[in-house]
């Protein structure tokens, strides 16, 4: 660039312009242009209100950079972009609940949330429930202890619904818990045992997981 801007080769109207002054002028001019373009573009960008492609999501307490389509749903992003396949896709129509995740601690059907709308929010999936050291969440431990599910495809959704519900109502009756997870379906029709597990989960959440929990069923989380 400096070679091209050499005053000897440019048709400057002023013959007194030195090479140094000319370059300084170009830099200053560029600064003015870029400052002005900022002023012009900023409201323009605000006016477009466009969904973005490269976004940053807070998932399970971590910032994850991800490239998304504007029409992409959160369930899709979680499963196929971030590898969090614990979130299941069942009906993909907000009917079955197997894609339930927490957004700012509230249960949502992630198949029916656009990824672009959760920028700046905290997403929690089933993978984000356990503690750093691998200790299961009380509701997860209760599911293990009660052997609450049959095929368990719907389990992550049920657990997320129950965890979200317990944040609002930590002391539910069985009937209230049934209402709380009523947005989730189980094709095995295993509802009674699921509710047993969820109620035990409510108790574990309240009073802590008793020492030796899980041993009765002969089950412990594999390291």
């Amino acid at each position: 660039m400096p070679e091209m801007e050499d005053p000897k080769t440019t048709e400057s109207p002023s013959k007194t312009v030195t090479r140094r002054k000319f370059i300084l002028g170009v830099i200053a001019g560029g600064a003015v242009v870029s400052a002005a373009s900022y002023k012009i573009l900023a409201p323009g960008r605000a006016r477009s209100f466009g969904g973005e492609r490269l976004i940053s999501l807070n998932v399970n307490g971590k910032q994850r950079r991800v490239d998304v389509m504007k029409q992409e749903t959160l369930a899709w992003t979680l499963r196929y972009k971030l590898g969090l396949t614990g979130t299941k896709l069942g009906c993909d129509r907000a009917e079955c609940g197997s894609c339930t995740v927490l957004i700012d601690d509230v249960p949502y059907y992630s198949c029916s949330v656009l990824t672009n709308t959760v920028r700046g929010k905290n997403v929690t999936t089933i993978e984000g429930l356990e503690a750093e050291d691998g200790t299961l969440h009380p509701v997860q431990q209760a599911v293990v202890d009660e052997q609450g599910f049959q095929c368990a495809f719907c389990m992550p959704g049920f657990v997320m619904s129950a965890v979200g519900f317990l944040k609002k109502n930590p002391n539910p009756t069985r009937e209230e818990m049934a209402q709380g997870v009523s947005g989730n379906l189980c094709r095995c029709q295993d509802y009674t045992k699921i509710l047993d597990a969820m109620m035990r989960g409510a108790q574990y959440t309240k009073t802590g997981v008793p020492a030796g929990a899980g041993s009765a069923a002969g089950l412990k989380r594999r390291a």
Binding site: S48, F49, G50, G51, M69, K70, Q71, E72, T73, W76, L89, C91, D92, R93, A94, E95, G97, T100, V106, P107, Y108, Y109, C111, S112, V113, L114, N116, T117, S161, F165, Q179, G180, V181, S182, G183
Partner: protein
Amino acid sequence: MAVIRDVMPAFDLLQPESAADAQKLLEQHGEDAWVMAGGMDSFDWLKDRIKKPKVLVDLSGADDLKGIRATSDGVEIGAMTTLTKIAEHPLIQKNYGLLAQAVELVASPQIRNQGTLGGNVSQDARCWYYRDGWPCYRAGGNICYADTPVGRNREHAIFGADRCVAVHPSDSAPALIALDAKFVMRTPKGERVVDAEDYFVGPETDITRLNILGPGDLLTAIRIPATWAGAKFYFEKVRDRNVWDFPLMNVASAMKLSGNNIDQMRIAVNAVAPKPMRLKAVEDAVRGKTANADTGEMAGKLAVEGAVPLQFNAYKIPLMRNLVKRAIVGTQEAA
């Protein structure tokens, strides 16, 4: 129709951060724009590839469309307030319990966490022929698939059918009519406020939509006057499943009583006609009467006058008669 589970077809996503910006975008894009509130209605259309808008205007970032504010004359609810927020709000529970009951019975917990009041009253018809993309009257065609001798029409209309026999599916709409709510819209011509019952249109007015919103119009808020605050309310929803399901029928009423005498009443039913139906004849007939089973019986008979059942929905006539009766007696046992 096979359920498609692939990513939706591409659209441009616009995320305005205020009602003013949202309305401008809708005006700018006109017929190309699809306005999305909670998305619980929108996603079905988009995922099934039946509606293919070029531009999706997502209202979820417009914070001035959210919230419940007490006003000098009642309460104003932003159109983007979620149903859960409304059901749990102390002022709504205390004074406008009818609406709290109605929204509590909508769909499932997750849907109430995401679905909004504006979306609930503005959602499209749920007739499965229409939703599956059949070229029926409502979709711009020249046939109704539900109103044939073999059409599956158990959920369809017994009143107000005009070519299309789909019903309005909202649970909150009849409650808002009973509470004499006003719907506030932002349109290209400025603010427009209409009575709740005037927000909805039947097929005789425009067969392709269920409400008065045109391109460029945005429902911003719903105002409930204090007139009926703390009145005696009755809401009941009848459906096949206890969760998720749309109403086979619902009834919402507000009554002012002196002792056991009805001074004034507003009552509306939904899922019987293409728009929520206010029962003015019943309101007039019960004025000054005692709120008992006899009055309920009389009101129920009056309510179903002129009903025209289809092949599979004649049950809706006794159902409606009984729901109106229950609303007047005020208990579920009375039927």
